[in-house]
Structures are given as structure tokens and as C-alpha cells.
Subunit: 212 residues, 2 copies
DNA sequence: CAATTTAATGACCCATCGGTCATTAGTCAA
DNA sequence: TTGACTAATGACCGATGGGTCATTAAATTG
């Protein structure tokens, strides 16, 4: 797991690289075992350092998780917002593009890990739940809200759908990501087919027939 | 938390009632704290007994969780299946009835607790994940599959929707239940409105316009 | 009212793990 | 080369919690 270890030396002083390496190692283990069940000692081993070293960079296990939220979500969520604002085209196309991007992010990165941990163990860390909500959820909901408003402005939205709960639109994507990580292996789903069904269903339900 | 305690006596011999009481106490604490973070000692206290007594009825913490799956899901899932089979009426009505029932079960009972625990900590207990899948998921998927087939037989299904992934239909309900339990309080959602939007969206996307 | 059975107890054992800190060693300036 | 600085170490501490078992006492039987 050590990265650029020059084999000759026992101790390596690499102050700049450590934080990110610790964080990456932690994410892998959290995904496998959950938060409480992952020992700081194992995170350290996976990052190629001793446990004490972790505490040079993060004040506590909880602080490490907070750093992970910042590291994994902040930049990605900003991108998401940008995507819709610069788009020119029909709502059907925008919805497709947006959901494709969401699925890619959720299924191909380790973003779900954070969500999984918060679902199962968030009760002990109200501050982290709050942070996650602010960083990920509010931004995400705003992005969807923008798409819906845009569709209405363009006259492509079905009547009575204007203040539909934004969570309804991404729920299947979130569930699919969680599903994959919980039932992976013994009940894997065809995520591409699922995504296409999802997009189709949303377009059908949300947009006027002549906007499809 | 003790139930029928006759106050005079220190020890109560109530062999029959213990298992269920232990289980109920455990479910409450698991919902609050998760599985790993809930001490058997606290479960025992909440059930009004000593820790050792728990081990008279359940071989281990894991066995207790398995018993919870059996207790909470088996009978309920059987009911779900029955519901659709005896129904006479349009698919629009059946879908509405079915989803109403699902939301009631997920939001008004402690069924989500089990799912939450499995999402966050299931990796340590592959046997429990498997059991959950068999007991809850396969039955649930079959129930939805039945509804879709029935709609098609009645000519009420949109073209190309016949082998839509059943998970897509209940995903928002599951997400809503989890959402409530994770973000309860600081970001509570209007679950009734959400459910109605959900039903509306599904009917719109799944059924032919003239079947609405 | 013994004698027997067994539900219930809780002190105890021991492995685990988050966090600390005195010690070690890599780096660099003078 | 040496001294100062500080990144890195890992033995250790203290708390925690799953699981055990010798002991206690409630019920039951004759």
C-alpha cells in the first residue's frame, strides 16, 4: 500500500503526501468494513505509516471523516451545478445528460462510501450529517431544482409537476449505488439498463409528451 | 422498560415473554445507535434483564439480529404478496394501493432499522445480508413483478415497460424511509406529498395515458 | 416442607481500539 | 560536522464491550 516508498529507508518524511494517502486508505477500508469497525491502526498500515502518524494530520477519527467529505464531495458538487447552467438544448436531453453524470459519479467513484457510513452510523456524528447535508444534498437538490424550473420556463414540463420534490428524481440512482455496494456479487444489477429505465421513466413522467 | 413487572420480586421467571421483549428493545437501540455501537448490556437493561439472560435466548449478537429479520419481515412480506393477488380493479388503482401500503410499512414501523444496519454494517455479516435478500427483497420484487405483468395482461402498460427493473418502482419509497431516519429533524420531508408525487410519477411513466 | 430443576444474575475475563507521548531518526542551515 | 527542528514511530494506557460461568433464587414436584 505504500506509494513511493524508497525501499532503503525505514522512515520516510513526506509531509505533503501523507494527508491524501491516509484519506484514500481510510475510504477503501470504510467501504469494506464501515466506520466504527475500521481501526485507525489498519488505516495507518494501509497508508504505510504508523498509527501515531495519523494523529499528526488528523485530530481524531471523526476529523478524518470530515476531511473525507470535504475532499470527495465539494469539488464534484460544484461541477454538477455548472453542468446545467451552461447547457443549451431540450429538457429531455439535459435530464439524460444530468442523470448519466450522476450515475457515473455514484457508481464509478467511492462517493457512496460516505453515504453508507452516514446511513449506518450517522447518529453518533450529528455534525458530520449536517456537513454532508450542506455540502452534498443542498447543492444536489438545487441543481435538480434548476433543471425543473428551466423545463417549465421552456414549456416542456407537465402540468402540476413544477414543485415536485427533487429527491424523487434521483432516488433510484442513490438506491442503485447503495444496492450495488450492499448486495454486490450475489445480486448484482444491470446498472446500465437500470439507468436507462430510470431516465426513460423520469422523462415520461415529468415532461410533456411533445417534449420527448 | 420492564413490561409486566410485579414490583415485589427481584427476579421474574418469564421464559415465554423474554425473546420478544429482548428483540423489541434491541430494535429500538439499533435504530438509535446502529448495530456495532449498541452494547448487549444496554439491550438487556432496556429489556429489564441482565446481560447474561440475553444469552439464554440468543446465542450471539448476530443471532439476535437474524431473529429480528425473521420477526419483522416474514409475516409482513407475505401480506404484501397476498394484497395484489386478490385485487380486482385497474392497474392505476392497484399501484396506488400497493405503494400506499409500502409507505405505511416503511415509515410507520421500524422495518427500516434492519435495512439501515445492513447498509452500514452488512459487510461483516454476509449470512444476514443473504437472509434479508431472500426474505424481504425477493418477495418484494416478485410482488411488483406481478403487478406489472397484470397491467400488461390488461393492456394498461405502456409499450417497452414490460421488463422494467422492479427496483425502479419502489426506490423512492426506500430512499424516503432512509432519509427520514438519517436526516430526521433537521431536514424532515413532507412524506405524504412525496408519496403522492411518487405514485403520480410512476403511474404516468408506467401506464398508458388512457389507463389513468 | 424438602428436593430438584432451571431461569436469571452479574462479576469477571480478555481481546480490542482510540488516543498519548517519550523516543528515534531524517533534513537542513550554519 | 554538529546542532536544531520536526516528521515518524510504536509501546503503552484506559475504556469498552462481547461472551462465560459459578452462584442465586423462583417455580415445581412429591
Amino acid at each position: 500500500m505504500t506509494r513511493d516508498a524508497e525501499p532503503g529507508k525505514k522512515r520516510q518524511r513526506r509531509k505533503d503526501a501523507r494527508p491524501q494517502e491516509i484519506l484514500d486508505a481510510a475510504m477503501v477500508l470504510w467501504a469494506e468494513r464501515g466506520f466504527a469497525a475500521t481501526r485507525l491502526d489498519d488505516v495507518a498500515k494501509a497508508a504505510g505509516i504508523a498509527k501515531g502518524t495519523v494523529y499528526l494530520y488528523y485530530a481524531s477519527k471523526e476529523a478524518l471523516f470530515e476531511a473525507a467529505i470535504q475532499d470527495r464531495l465539494v469539488s464534484v458538487m460544484r461541477e454538477h451545478q455548472g453542468l446545467s447552467q451552461s447547457f443549451e438544448g431540450s429538457s429531455a436531453e439535459l435530464l439524460t445528460l444530468f442523470l448519466n453524470t450522476v450515475y457515473a459519479r455514484l457508481l464509478k467513484t467511492d462517493a457512496v462510501t460516505l453515504l453508507k457510513v452516514l446511513i449506518g452510523e450517522g447518529h453518533h456524528f450529528p455534525d458530520l450529517v449536517k456537513l454532508y447535508r450542506e455540502v452534498a444534498i443542498e447543492t444536489g437538490m438545487a441543481a435538480i431544482g434548476f433543471i425543473v424550473k428551466r423545463a417549465q420556463a421552456r414549456g416542456e414540463l407537465r402540468d402540476g409537476m413544477s414543485d415536485l420534490d427533487a429527491r424523487l428524481i434521483i432516488a433510484p440512482a442513490i438506491m442503485a449505488a447503495i444496492w450495488q455496494s450492499v448486495f454486490a456479487g450475489e445480486d448484482a444489477m444491470d446498472t446500465d439498463a437500470f439507468m436507462n429505465d430510470h431516465i426513460h421513466l423520469i422523462r415520461q413522467g415529468l415532461l410533456k409528451p411533445d417534449a420527448l
